[in-house]
Symmetry: C4
């Protein structure tokens, strides 16, 4: 298994999953009230689209940064990568479920938010698994300096801890849980793990 | 982040988004009147498909022309690119909404056209952002001559100005706004920014 | 525009379009009669899936054979390629419409078959356009020998002529038109334009 | 036809098919009972998603391992590869049908499981066809040692035999058939045909 095809397949899955997010924006069509009301009533769908789009986008960027440096492709890495994609593919489902139920009363909104956060947490943890695996001796082209290890590990840990917090809070307040998930996306956009790099000619 | 994987991911998103445009062509099926009537009644869907297909196709061509020359891939570029893809992915939604409501009476047709033009304008502006970013010193392999800068900037500006015009006119006449959007596509097909180039062996 | 990215984008569109064909296989679910009846009643969907899958698959193979030899990527080629993809993307729509209406009485079956054949014919003609364009001086790496030109031109012409025949016959007998379309696929599978070639290491 | 584009197209189809699996997770929405009940009632959909996701993932890994070593791309290989993709693309349909009918009474659950196993068996057999084809003289870069031939042939055969068993058992007990299909996935994850390999720089 070459790294190139691992990337091509993963890129394909990321691209399809991120595009399918927009499916949930569709309105019901004529006969369901004024379009303007349909659109404004669906604000959770638009907000969810924004958060999930950038969350998948960031994990794609980070996936590349880690995989780009990997020297050995073995069965464990392939399994971890499939696990990551399993959750990435489930995010449009989690997003749609959350957006549909966010404004419902009763426990439905809590359940929906728990489902959504589980897809994100699963993605974060399996990505952390890939990163942890890559720290093993001889698995990267360039050794990762201790400082960078600590910094990147810190950033990954913070994201996972915040997702666990969001998971617990989702049982009480879906709105606060969603705010935390949105914050994680904003944090990673501004504090990502990918330094600028000269692109090869 | 290498330029190659930025292109692969973007190509994937462009390809999925352009293919999903055809979803909105589907007819309701038997029991909804003669098929011929169903098809002719849906002329806005076919027209919208044509316009959006070529609009995404052109932006893909231009995306390649700009990215192909980029020497530095940094966080700002990645964010601008995600912003562009955010709008590209939303275009099938905007197209379907517009086509469904174009022939509706009342303000629904106006609202639908505004939504559609916003997705196109957002795509145009974020693409303009990528182009503007690429003009910074040291960000391209080949320096862009001042004449080409002016010509390309002019073409991008004209498109955005026309989209803003279409956005304003959509509040009054969705049909005229759609005509403008179609004109932009025709203009870019005939006046694109990509000169013929020898492909490498 | 490099040839590589033209191929990557086209491959993406081909891959998504061919996968979306399977959407039309879905059954209505419990409460719509025994599953076995639902499946056997839907034989046109399975037959249509087979024919369209191999038709798109063959055009993908031929697309590669032609593009692989192209030395110059210019605006005309990009436009012709977009035109080809416009029809490829419409094939799942044509296929679903045809399969849904094939066994309907009245003119609906005729109309549906006409729609289906138009998507195939449009694909064939725009592909022929790409091939004709590639015959121009200096547009390929290896000059195409006169014998190969004639042979390939003959094969493309036969396919288009058969599609035009199917289009005319569709107005009278959708079943015969479908048989012709199926024959074209079988013909191209056994008589393709792609000779075996050593793959580079 | 270069091997590279065969891989790119196949990767695209694998990526779209694996992502579409998640479509079947979608819940009916508000007004169909508590979300928690909807989710727990749909356990077959989640189980089916897991099994099919890893089954497609494994076949993708194995596809790469075989194709990576192929030196000659000819018409037979292209046809076998299209046949494989025909079944891969049908797996989301088979998975959704199976998951929807697994808990239905009467023969529907049996029929649905038969459909599901047919898509998997078809995929397995056409993949076996590609592998058998690759054993011909001069078709691979590195000759495959006799020991590896036997080991890989054994693993492919075991999978197909188990799928045939599941097919027969599906007529009697869909649950046992599903357990066998799940076992095949677990077996291939732990006993795959892809040794660790140094990735090129």
């Amino acid at each position: 298994m070459s790294r190139g095809r691992l990337e091509a397949f993963s890129d394909g899955v990321f691209a399809v999953a991120i595009t399918l997010l927009a499916f949930n924006l569709a309105v019901a069509g004529p006969g369901h009230g004024p379009l303007l009301h349909q659109l404004t009533d669906r604000w959770p769908a638009f907000l969810a689209y924004l958060i999930s789009f950038f969350t998948i986008g960031i994990i794609w960027v980070n996936h590349h940064a880690v995989v780009d440096n990997i020297a050995l492709v073995n069965r464990t890495l392939l399994f971890l990568n499939l696990l990551l994609l399993l959750f990435v593919v489930a995010i449009p489902f989690g997003t749609a479920t959350m957006a549909t139920y966010l404004t419902e009363s009763g426990q439905d909104a809590n359940v929906a938010m728990v489902v959504y956060v589980i897809t994100l947490l699963g993605m974060g943890l399996s990505f952390g698994g890939i990163f942890a695996w890559s720290l093993g001796a001889g698995r990267t082209h360039r050794p990762i300096p201790a400082g960078a290890r600590r910094a990147v590990t810190f950033r990954f840990t913070i994201g996972s801890v915040l997702y666990v917090m969001a998971l617990v809070i989702a049982f009480v307040s879906p709105a606060i849980a969603l705010a935390i998930v949105g914050l994680v996306a904003v944090y990673y956009i501004s504090e990502g793990t990918v330094p600028g790099r000269k692109a090869p000619m």
